[in-house]
Symmetry: C2
Subunit: 499 residues, 2 copies
């Protein structure tokens, strides 16, 4: 009879296999699946989700966990402690949710997401409103099952995506950051707007693709253990030896393709950098969405929007993009890549205004989940906050509160992980700069391996060994703050905007 | 509490969902999967196979089946009778196999297949021999679990692939066919060898791909409910709204790409032609491998190698292949497509000698499974039969008894379904010709819809309603024989070879 620890890990490996199978089905759905396969695909995914949930909540898991926690030999081994702690967390969380509620949420999400797509296409909040009301109600029920010891509903949901995250701590981080970003936005509007003509040059998609593949390969994304395909919305899925990125191309905006491919490439390097030995156990899993996003943002913004990177990249761009590069140079393209232009749509936002979009959602979803704001008021409040934070008038709900899929999928407490990712990215990049004797020198000569291996050692290889906050302190010597991010923006944008 | 029939069908839908998920994983493995994903993929597939087996053998299935079989209302409905009969068959068969044997066979197959690939690459039968001995032993054990009422081991295995098939009936079909095919081969060697220079024209792969896609689309393969990709070995997988074909291209043999794509397209039309209403139940499943192969062979050979088809196809070929067509015409290419050339490799064989390859294997695998021939004698016996049936000397085991993957995967009793497919195809094509007032007229004007819809109505739409033999009698008015096949070959090849 194998020891409880071995049984626990073998059992969890099935959860991993089912989860990675779902990930492949999801990837296929967005890349190659024929339209006619949609109904069966939804049923396949629902079945796999149920099989995973059954395994995570299996009563034997509680027995194995208790046996491990009472076994001095197991609890003397740091690896085993970390795995037992991770599986304890997963099990306790999953068992708090009644299967009927899980099923109802899944069924409602599927319908609500379709209704949201219809509502967005018609810019009709009225159409989406009953579905959003239903989703908020279900998420409140879910939060009531999950929350412990006076925890708020929103905090209980947010903890699903970022272990240890809560609204009070976020408010401390976000309030001053919001002020600084609003004032930066106002300040930049008085600077010299960079020449962004490179963003309007038409370039053949095949050339764009060869170019972004060259860059992502140079970053070290391993095509023996991953793929790059196309989809309507770029994403990264999979883990270990099977990591799949997607990208997309616009005829007249190669920097969009480059930025989003480097972004997904950063996610991909994290997944490829997880411990192979621990694949299929918590030590081989990503720790949080915020840390995941830090890896994508670090490569997208701290590498891909830096002057040093463009000194390396410009000849690569010229080689692949040819005549489109005429009349531009590394410095002008670097400036174009750093254009700040407040806009209505989060996913199109620049580095300096992106987090203001997140903060609008952070305010509103807390009010919704706390029951302090009726769903009916969402458009009015949304539009007011866009005026206050971004200085913009929202012309319609399609470009307003209907723009994101998240809430229709039941993702409340998720948006702030995007901003956490930006802050972690800046703090990690600053730590790497110190540890490696200057990032710009490395980037200028195209040495991405030194940074990548540092990230692998310092961040990726730990999997879920440390909580995000603890990981940040270990890697950077300090708790998370917005200092590094603001310093990074101020320094770079003052130069780009000649302030 | 839903009725037993509804519970049974809902339960079987999970088997279908797990099976179709496995099919997608298998497709991905052969098309887009990165090399590094192989180990996890094997574990995912093994888990899904176990989950399917657990469901098929679930003791509740026996209870539901018994309840249905004793329910006069269920047994008054032809659809329900067919579904209950199919699920009874699946359940009884699966429960006869001990889980430990199933697992041991799966594990051995995986190793044996890798060893076979190594052995074939080195042309070393000695290397593969212990693995083949192990596989034969395991398949004998499997057959002993499956067989009933004095059934032979080989018959018990063959019934897995072709319900009702047995060696005695096959021998009655095959013995005279073998004589006729051997004599046809000898006769053709005295005829005028057709000009096959079109088979050596180099054509760009992109042009070949556009051409074969145009043909398969004209056949009616629905790309809203399927895909065409590339793989090392062409195959078709999936069902209903998600049917995936693959094809491959050789620079200098566009007819190979056309033939294999039409072949897989025929499989694909069968899967797309199954009843949508019954998807996920036996009435929505293919009935046997022989009937499946009849659909691929009908399109590949009775359509794609006919003179009438080439009258339609030649302008299509000219449009896509351009200058490569210069100096050829519909008639000359039709003759080139019907070249008979005995060869060592089954998968490269022409229409007139293919079945002789199958018959070699039919003789040898019966002797192996019956324990009448030691594995060590396989190469000698193989080579002797290739001399007798095909008039060829086998130079090495790589081009001899190591050429096929099947036995390393435990597929004994499978090969004859290829020849059954050829015979069913000819008998169905002759019936269609009678029913539709002449196939050549339809093909000459590119009317593939009439034939396709006839096949859908007569064959596809029935799913597993009738056993293959019964289906053949219903569709063609006669039991299966080799008459139609031999008439087809004699008529066409006498003309091509000007005999």
């Amino acid at each position: 009879m194998p020891a409880a620890y071995d049984q626990l890990l073998a059992h969890h490996r099935e959860v991993f296999l089912l989860g990675s199978t779902s990930a492949l089905l999801g990837w296929d759905q967005e890349t190659y699946m024929p339209a006619g396969a949609g109904d069966v695909r939804a049923d396949q995914l629902a079945l796999l989700a149920r099989l995973q949930h059954e395994r995570v909540t299996d009563p034997r898991v509680a027995e194995w966990l208790a046996a491990c926690e009472g076994d001095a030999q197991v609890m003397a081994d740091p690896d085993r402690i970390a795995n037992v702690r991770g599986l304890r967390r997963d099990h306790d969380r999953a068992t708090r949710l009644p299967a009927a509620l899980v099923a109802e949420i899944a069924a409602t999400e599927s319908r609500a997401q379709q209704e949201w797509a219809q509502a967005r296409a018609r810019s009709s909040f009225a159409r989406f409103r009953p579905w959003l009301e239903r989703m908020v109600d279900l998420q409140q029920q879910k939060a009531d099952c999950l929350r412990r010891d006076g925890q708020s509903r929103w905090d209980a949901l947010a903890d699903l995506y970022e272990p240890g995250m809560n609204a009070a701590d976020l408010e401390v981080l976000f309030a001053p950051l919001r002020q600084r970003l609003v004032s930066l936005r106002e300040r930049l509007s008085g600077g010299d707007r960079p020449d962004d003509s490179f963003l309007r040059v038409e370039i053949d998609e095949a050339r764009q693709e060869a170019f972004v593949r060259a860059v992502v390969t140079a970053m070290g994304f391993d095509l023996q253990r991953g793929r790059i395909d196309r989809s309507a919305h770029p994403f990264c899925t999979g883990t270990g030896g099977d990591v799949r990125l997607t990208t997309r191309f616009h005829k007249d905006n190669v920097l969009d393709a480059l930025g989003s491919t480097m972004h997904e490439g950063g996610h991909g390097l994290y997944e490829q950098g997880l411990s192979e030995q621990h694949l299929g156990s918590p030590l081989g899993e990503a720790v949080s969405l915020g840390i995941h996003e830090s890896q994508s943002r670090l490569w997208e913004n701290h590498v891909g929007r830096s002057a040093a990177f463009w000194q390396w990249c410009w000849p690569v761009a010229q080689q692949h993009l040819g005549v489109a590069c005429a009349g531009h140079d590394a410095a002008s393209v670097h400036r174009a890549a750093n254009l700040v232009q407040p806009s209505l749509i989060r996913v199109e936002a620049d580095e300096a205004t992106y987090d203001l979009h997140v903060m609008v959602r952070f305010v509103l979803e807390r009010a919704l989940i706390a029951g302090e704001m009726p769903v009916a008021e969402l458009p009015t409040q949304w539009n007011a906050l866009y005026g206050e934070y971004l200085g913009l008038q929202v012309p319609d709900d399609r470009r307003g509160c209907l723009q994101d899929v998240h809430w229709s999928c039941g993702l409340f407490g998720y948006f702030p992980t995007y901003t956490l990712g930006n802050l972690y990215a800046a703090q990690f990049a600053a730590a790497a700069d110190r540890a490696l004797g200057g990032l710009p020198d490395l980037l200028r000569r195209g040495d991405f391996a030194t940074l990548r291996e540092w990230l692998r050692r310092e961040v990726h290889a730990h999997g879920r060994r440390y909580d995000p906050g603890e990981l940040c302190r270990r890697v950077t010597g300090a708790p998370l703050s917005s200092d590094a991010f603001l310093t990074h923006l101020d320094t770079k944008l003052s130069e780009v905007y000649a302030l």
